[in-house]
Symmetry: D2
Subunit: 347 residues, 4 copies
């Protein structure tokens, strides 16, 4: 079975496992006070060229996002997200469980727009009662988005400007940041300049697990560790996360993983397009949303795996994801199989 279901289907990148095994006789202090966490932190600070940044590696994406809401927002402050945002429809109300509202906006191709923000930050739209309304405070974006698109530097710069004008924080969920860093014009340094906080995703980019929260805005740094610990986000064995990010941040491994994911995705995308298969929200990232006829999918099913998004009588929107482990041969096998079925169909 060749799987394009997800980028979190395998244990970890071999280099990560190798380093964990190498260090298995080492004894480390707990709660991120170890040297590997410090090295990882310094590597990240150096990559973003900001020595004042606060870095804390947490475990899981949902947890990272809810800790951001708990730590950054006061009780009456809300987060703004597109409807397809992970915090809105894939986290069972994690943000609300910390007491904060998610204000949802439509967005375009999975991305929040300035018009979206204007609408919810004007009193007129968000009710007419002024002080009786929720206070929008933090813009949540993800890079790449849930629908496989990414923000350009120009788009992020405009959102940043809006946030400055309206006193909002900008927070970026980087669960799939490796892919975005490879195909967008937004670098890690740009993210650090444009966001108040963001996280560098490990789980979907070769780590066993781990998401490195990077806080730029001084106001948001104070006592972050306490709140992360309170919500169960701090591993006693924090050095495990330190070792992994030390590995990912060294020798450009993170960047190489992003590059490989996208290369495999492009191969897949171009192959599908040549076969006249419709791509939704086409982009250069490692997620492909394609509409394929049910006849073909029925024939692929015993050899390949994917995620179904939407299905109709004739065709189905599926999601294909590539990862650090995706092989060229696997992609070719998928394309060739469809090609064969299409030829047979024609006959």
């Amino acid at each position: 079975m060749i799987s394009f279901i997800n980028d979190y289907s395998e244990v970890a990148h071999p280099k990560v496992l190798e380093n964990l095994a190498l260090l298995s006789n080492e004894k480390n202090p707990g709660y991120s006070n170890d040297k590997h966490s410090k090295i990882a932190t310094n590597l990240i600070k150096s990559k973003i060229d900001d020595n004042n940044a606060y870095v804390q590696i947490l475990v899981i994406g949902t947890q990272t996002n809810l800790i951001a809401a708990a730590a950054f927002l006061r009780p009456h402050e809300a987060l703004i997200t597109v409807e397809t945002g992970h915090v809105h429809d894939h986290e069972v109300g994690s943000i609300e469980s910390t007491g904060h509202k998610c204000i949802t906006v439509k967005g375009e191709s999975g991305k929040i727009t300035i018009d979206d923000l204007k609408r919810v930050c004007s009193d007129k739209y968000w009710g007419n009662a002024g002080i009786l309304n929720i206070k929008p405070k933090m813009v949540y974006i993800s890079q790449t988005t849930e629908v496989g698109t990414f923000y350009t530097k120009e788009e992020l710069t405009q959102i940043r400007k809006f946030c400055d004008d309206y006193g909002l924080y900008l927070y970026c969920d980087g669960a799939r940041l490796a892919s975005a860093l490879d195909c967008s014009d937004v670098t890690l340094k740009d993210l650090a300049k444009l966001c108040d906080a963001f996280y560098i995703g490990g789980t979907k980019n070769g780590a066993l697990m781990g998401e490195a929260m990077v806080i730029i805005n001084d106001k948001l740094k104070e006592d972050f560790f306490y709140i992360a610990k309170q919500r169960g986000g701090i591993l006693s064995k924090g050095f495990l996360l330190g070792i992994q990010f030390e590995t990912l941040m060294s020798n450009n491994l993170y960047e190489k993983i992003g590059e490989h994911q996208n290369k495999m995705a492009n191969l897949l995308r171009e192959g599908l397009k040549k076969l006249n298969i419709e791509i939704i929200n086409e982009s250069k990232t490692n997620q492909i949303f394609a509409i394929i006829s049910n006849n073909i999918l029925d024939k692929l099913r015993n050899k390949f795996a994917w995620e179904t998004i939407n299905t109709s009588d004739d065709s189905t929107e599926i999601r294909l994801v590539t990862s650090w482990s995706t092989k060229k041969e696997e992609v070719n096998s998928f394309i060739n199989s469809i090609s064969e079925y299409l030829e047979n169909e024609v006959c």
Copy 2:
């Protein structure tokens, strides 16, 4: 200044104040253990013909709604409301402050539709991740709605059926229930048959303050008092609320207040319509949403007060609300003033 701004602009209905004054030498036990609270409770049970109902008078609407969410829902369960629902845009995120998500739907004329409910209760719409999604559990409606409409018995019956099919609770915010009881075909007994819980609003219907929560579904009754107390919803002087609801529920005072509100609103509505003024979401309740030219409003401003909903260069949508204290002469004065200005304008 003649005010149509709201139905909570005055101290209280004279009968309420009279009874409070009459009983001012009485000493009563605290925390709703007094005879007036018991009498009020029994009057309500008798009106809804349900001796097993649990009744607890709370203080304020926002508080009542948030206590309902806290007491009725488990952490992963969400409330469904139309976008104009009070819990969504007039309570600064009160529901979320208890940890629960508000799922919003478009609605029609301020009312939730079966199509709305189908959409958010199907896995397909609300993300495609099954167990990763929020669990819709309680339908929030208000009678009357925030835009001045009301549900018919047929509409409520269909919503009830949907709730039964999908395992949802139906909860009704009755902040302006007196008006609805007068003009809709839904009686208090119907509400008690169709809802799992609802509240009978006092604040906007002649009381100083007070909202009587009525719980029908046995599952939702247990320890409600504890949770209400925890959230600051239980007055030590609970007898004050008891005396007021004893008053409102006696001699059909509540019903008479609803009737008067609607009578004055109808007078106002028909007067406006005769002057060809556009009414939005026309209904028979005590809230009127009308579009009036800015020229006219400028001239009315020094004599009358209203709430502005939306304004454009030419005209403005305003809200006019009648209350137990609104006088026929006040309504006529408003209509006549507009009429005069319109005649002058023509010349």
Copy 3:
């Protein structure tokens, strides 16, 4: 039945009811934007001689305390209280419902001591894990305390000093502040100088209900109204609270109520002491805790009411509370009844 059960057993002080009745034809804007709330606010600012204070009248004590916790503390910050503190054992976990821990200390005669504070603010006591522990942040006291004692100016000054040294807030629950202002050397101005925030209790001092939160520390003022509204603490008919505090704060009514409460309590206390009845935590406030033999109590029961604190085979600790409405004759009647029974017993 003559009742010493509580100071919240009656509707309200006649002057409060009179003013509400007088203003019953007035229409007022909602949500504390009315002139009475402004006048009340200014009267309070003037009494505390601090024109920068932020004043917001809320409804109930439990609610006021939980809003203080929600608004003043970040998620990992805890409140410190004596074990007998209202927030710890009379509010069903209201503080915890906002996500904050109550750290409890023993105290002395219901009052927190510097030794208590030192113990919980040193790493050694509160676990030895530093960053893994809760962060003590707000000292909660009440004036008068739950056991009828009060803090002196010297005691409050020392607590303030400790708070300054350790970066803590000092918050005072003034549910029974009128009594304390009369018998302690702590004035309203002192409270405003020594506390970061405190509330002036209305409910137990002649109002129908209402507690005036006074915030002195600028850091704690921002957006307080939002959070109070979110938790259901803001009355749409806020002018009702404004009218009542305008009344209480005028013509020294609040001070007179405190004086009367204490005068009646002293009469009662001295009477009991003359009869050799043991007083617990003796003080000058309007709460008396006395140990009376069960034989006597059995005889008093059909004519007088009190609250039972603790009971043994022989005797019972009871609480007697005086209020604005307590009459000299009622006190004398109680003392005389005991005196008679005691004389008969001897024979």
Copy 4:
């Protein structure tokens, strides 16, 4: 440096790392829907001889405990713990962050007693206001305790009986369960019979991380997964936890780890006792609390590591913990070093 600081200082037991490496080419479905999680679940069910148990492997102890509070308790229900309980003083208020109070009791040698429970479950102790008080609902214990002791089967049986009588849940934190299973007379099957829920700790017993929540009481099972996901407790790569618990639960690895920890601890304990060093709360588990003179500790410091609990001018209470990796030679080296210093001191 030989470390007795903790049992979570190393990457993982070699067998765990070996199995992760072996399976590194396998693709698994996400969110615990993989075969390894199923096998691990079945192994646990089989060990506790309860096929109806619900098992879900979570990531970290603090998280596991807070999810238990969130999922098992209604808002007004509190958890009871000894003062030294992990949830009380090592989790930054994690339980309170879910809205629930921790009622603390003194305990004896780190264990909750029936007298403790009686005190807080009687109205008289926990305030005298009945319905105004918190509702004690879940007894939290840990096996082994934070001070290195363990409950006997007789003690647990009595606590269970109390819980049955008072309608309480019994929940056991098994962070160090391997050690307890080896030295106490309480088996996994006993735990499953006596508790409503408990967790089998992985992090401190050879896993990278992972805690297997086992729910016995049917009432507590419903929708547990949702709430665990909402709080960030569900790994997308859940199979990582499945593989680890499959490993620990196979071939008695978990039992062997507990046996080894205790054997090393006993060696250490007996060695210290022979040198007349005082042991606090002596037990048979893998934590030793000993009082050693500061002179000796100063000499040990450059070769050995431990945790300091309390220190005075002369001596210090230290904690020594053994783990799956502790070697006999390391223990002997520690004992011998002390022995040498003691001999020198004498001279």
